[in-house]
């Protein structure tokens, strides 16, 4: 038995391949959109994984430190360390800011961490860990910084000594890690004009600048410039304790809020990225429907273009099954080429996206199934049209 579909494709293979490639690019766009969605969710997850914590301790009645702002005293961790089940506890600060790199600026999340504690980047791709307690930084490669370059954050320059990868905020901004004390200063330090204006204000206040009490003004001014706050304490639970139990104890006795990994993930994914994820999801759904419609129309018009040949086939007594088989095979072939081209193109252009695009194999498999089903469904339309053709059309009747 000869393959009618194969013969027909060979007959006009250029057209077939071009259609397949065009379809592939469309499928590629859809796959990418799914990847963008997955990437957003993965950004949130990877943020939690990279912090290396089991419990996030934040200001009472807040959902910090990522979804809301949170501020707690930097000595809270000492109390936490004394609690049963707590193996490690470390202060951490997060500050989103524009970091200047040469002529351009990039949005980054500046993380203040304590060396050797949760919050430190778990792995590097180049350079070394911090050795000095001040003015050194580890940057994500996405920031574009190279080893030895200097980053200016507020008043100080930081030397990039290490590079890491896939360290992003929930919004996908790459991270820059600096020592906690510097980060505390950077987060709460005002500019010089504001500091001087504040001093003048304090000086003008008769309650704080009393003539008979020398030194009072200096003491008040000094107390205004120190900061002992951090955004969160990251806690690691010891072996043999569950995070939920330890978090419960912390909430009960320490008058702070404590979230476990599951709760934090819920906050990030259900609340923080929910709206943008839904936005992308909506767009993805529309794109899928549009792609399906386009596939259907392409196959339908391709069949209509061959209506004369089909009439000839009918005239020479070809069975309906054979004709239907030919159209279905062509449709499925087109779908397969489209899928392969789509998958390759999506893989090719995904790294060029500014934010992370995660192409999951499960998504690809799902896409393959959808493409095949849509192609099969679309071919039924074309098959109906082909079977209804009057053989007389072949001889111009």
């Amino acid at each position: 038995m000869i393959s009618l579909a194969g013969r027909d494709i060979l007959h006009s293979w250029g057209k077939f391949v071009l259609t397949g490639v065009g379809l592939g690019l469309l499928i590629g766009a859809t796959l990418t959109m799914a990847g963008v969605y997955r990437g957003m969710v993965d950004d949130a997850r990877v943020l939690l994984t990279n912090s290396g914590a089991d419990i996030w301790v934040v200001q009472k009645d807040t959902q910090g430190p990522y979804a809301e702002s949170s501020s707690i005293r930097d000595d809270v961790y000492r109390g936490l360390l004394g609690m049963p089940g707590v193996a490690q506890a470390a202060n951490v600060t997060y500050l989103t800011m524009q970091v200047r790199h040469g002529a351009r600026e990039s949005r980054t999340m500046v993380v203040g961490f304590e060396q050797g504690q949760p919050g430190e980047p778990g792995y590097l791709v180049a350079g070394r860990r911090l050795l000095r307690g001040h003015f050194e930084a580890i940057a994500d490669v996405k920031t574009g910084f190279k080893l030895g370059e200097r980053i200016r954050i507020r008043r100080h320059d930081y030397e990039v000594v290490g590079l890491t990868r896939r360290m992003v905020s929930s919004g996908g901004d790459p991270m820059v890690f600096i020592p906690l004390k510097d980060a505390q200063e950077a987060q709460f330090l005002k500019d010089n004009d504001a500091i001087i204006a504040d001093r003048a204000r304090t000086e003008a206040n008769p309650a704080l600048n009393r003539p008979g009490v020398p030194g009072l003004l200096d003491a008040v001014t000094a107390s205004q410039t120190i900061n002992h706050s951090v955004n969160a304490v990251l806690v690691k639970v010891g072996a043999g304790d569950t995070a939920a139990n330890v978090a419960q104890e912390i909430r009960r006795w320490k008058h702070v809020q404590a979230y476990t990994r599951e709760q934090m993930e819920e906050i990030l994914i259900e609340k923080l990225v929910a709206t943008s994820a839904k936005q992308i999801g909506m767009f993805l759904a529309i794109l899928t429907v549009v792609s399906a419609a386009i596939v259907a129309f392409i196959i339908y018009t391709m069949t209509l273009g061959k209506i004369r040949e089909i009439a000839v086939l009918k005239l020479i007594g070809t069975r309906n099954r054979t004709i239907a088989g030919m159209i279905l095979q062509q449709a499925l072939g087109l779908g397969l080429i489209g899928f392969i081209v789509g998958k390759i193109s999506a893989t090719l252009w995904a790294p060029a996206f500014p934010k992370y695009v995660l192409l999951e194999t499960a998504d690809a498999m799902r896409a393959l199934a959808i493409v095949m089903v849509v192609c099969a469904l679309a071919s039924t339309l074309a098959i109906r049209a082909a079977l209804k053709v009057d053989p007389a059309t072949a001889i111009g009747g």
């Binding site: 050797g116 778990g122 860990r129 050795l131 003015f135 690691k236 392969i340 390759i344 999951e360 194999t361």
Partner: protein, 392 residues
């Protein structure tokens, strides 16, 4: 139907290439892809650790010069930036009525001196009277014995002699009293003079005026500074070091001081003192670092970065610090054995300035460990060893 064999082969070849590309991409970028890592052997190396801290330029000796009692500033003789010598007049307080009181005590003292003179004269007078009375008494006693005068006359003369003696004693006592009075008033005058000179604020040592906190006419309380001085040759740096990175800090360590005003220049210095009291709030230790040769034009309060180099270890087994990972609550490294990574907990020692960390326990020389990786490693990570992860 005409049909070209070549075209068919081409199409099949194209399809094969397409599928092969897909397979390649899936294998390289999906979950099946292997993680790229770089490796390094555990090797012997000399480790030179460093300690890093932030310093602020301070004066070792600074002086706040002010009055000991509340008062009004009469005049300030020096201004900021002036170099002063020990004992030089810096400022003077308003004496109010102290000058008048001094004049009064001086006058009283002079009067007391007169009183002493008077008493001395009276004493001399009483001496003369006593001598005359004694002579008379002797003569009348003689005459009385011979019976020329009555005994009542003799007794009268004896009484006169005794009176004169008593007057002499009284005059002597009056003179001593007047002298003591004079001493008292002299002391009072000296005290007033002292108080007067205490209002003159003098430089306690050679130094440089750094602040002029009160102007003539303003009132200051006891202990409040009118003028501040520093000993300009005593500048050093108060260095703060993170407690968890201060091991090996000791007096005499050589220091490299980089002042914020001249970032390209490292000035040599030494740790001069380590404070017994640390800062429990900021969790820092405090040490004082002295310049070998104090630079010119350095300002007090200037920030600086100080690097200390404690003695290192020779030929220690070390791995790059980036190889150390936290896994399952333990610090260790991923050792590569037969192409598969395995986690080994290690005990670490000194860290060198180049980022290498001494391994005290857990690794043998020549063990290959994973240094950089594209992601978190697990025991069943598929890995691919490359020479570098960046720049490709």
């Amino acid at each position: 139907m005409k049909f070209s064999f070549d075209r068919r082969t081409t199409l099949i070849a194209a399809a094969v290439v397409l599928v092969a590309t897909l397979v390649l991409f899936v294998a390289r970028s999906g979950p099946l892809a292997s993680m790229r890592v770089t490796v390094a052997p555990a090797a012997r190396a000399d480790l030179a650790p460093l300690l890093f801290g932030i310093g602020v330029v301070e004066a070792r000796r600074s002086y706040l010069v002010g009055p000991t009692t509340a008062g009004r500033v009469r005049h300030v003789a020096v201004d900021v930036g002036e170099v002063v010598k020990a004992g030089q007049l810096l400022s003077e307080m308003d004496p109010v009525d102290l000058d008048q009181r001094l004049a009064a005590t001086s006058a009283a003292a002079r009067r007391a001196k007169n009183a002493v003179d008077t008493a001395a004269a009276q004493l001399a007078d009483s001496v003369a009277r006593r001598e005359v009375a004694a002579a008379n008494a002797r003569r009348y006693e003689e005459l009385g014995r011979k019976g020329f005068v009555s005994s009542s006359v003799t007794e009268g003369k004896t009484q006169e002699m005794n009176s004169a003696s008593a007057q002499f004693a009284a005059a002597e006592a009056a003179l001593a009293g007047a002298r003591q009075d004079l001493a008292r008033l002299d002391a009072e005058r000296a005290g007033a003079q002292q108080q007067r000179s205490n209002l003159r604020l003098l430089a306690p040592a050679d130094g440089l005026v750094t602040a002029r906190d009160a102007e003539p006419g303003s009132t200051v309380v006891a202990g409040q500074a009118v003028v501040r001085l520093v000993a300009a040759d005593s500048l050093w740096l108060k260095m703060r070091l993170d407690q968890n990175r201060s091991a090996g800090l000791q007096v005499g360590l050589p220091a490299e001081i980089v002042l914020r005003s001249r970032p390209g220049q490292a000035l040599p210095g030494k740790v001069a003192r380590i404070e017994m009291l640390g800062d429990s709030v900021t969790e820092e230790r405090i040490a004082q670092v002295a310049f070998d040769t104090p630079p010119k034009d350095v300002s007090i309060g200037e920030m600086s970065e100080i690097t200390l180099r404690p003695p290192g270890v020779k030929q220690a087994l070390a791995v790059p610090g980036a190889a150390l990972r936290l896994h399952g609550g333990k610090t260790g490294v991923w050792r590569l054995a037969a192409g598969k990574p395995g986690f080994v907990a290690v005990k670490t020692g000194t860290s060198g300035a180049d980022g290498r960390v001494q391994i005290l326990d857990g690794l043998k020389e020549g063990d290959v460990v994973i240094v950089y990786s594209e992601g978190e490693l697990t025991a069943d990570s598929r890995i691919k060893v490359v020479s570098t992860l960046t720049g490709s």
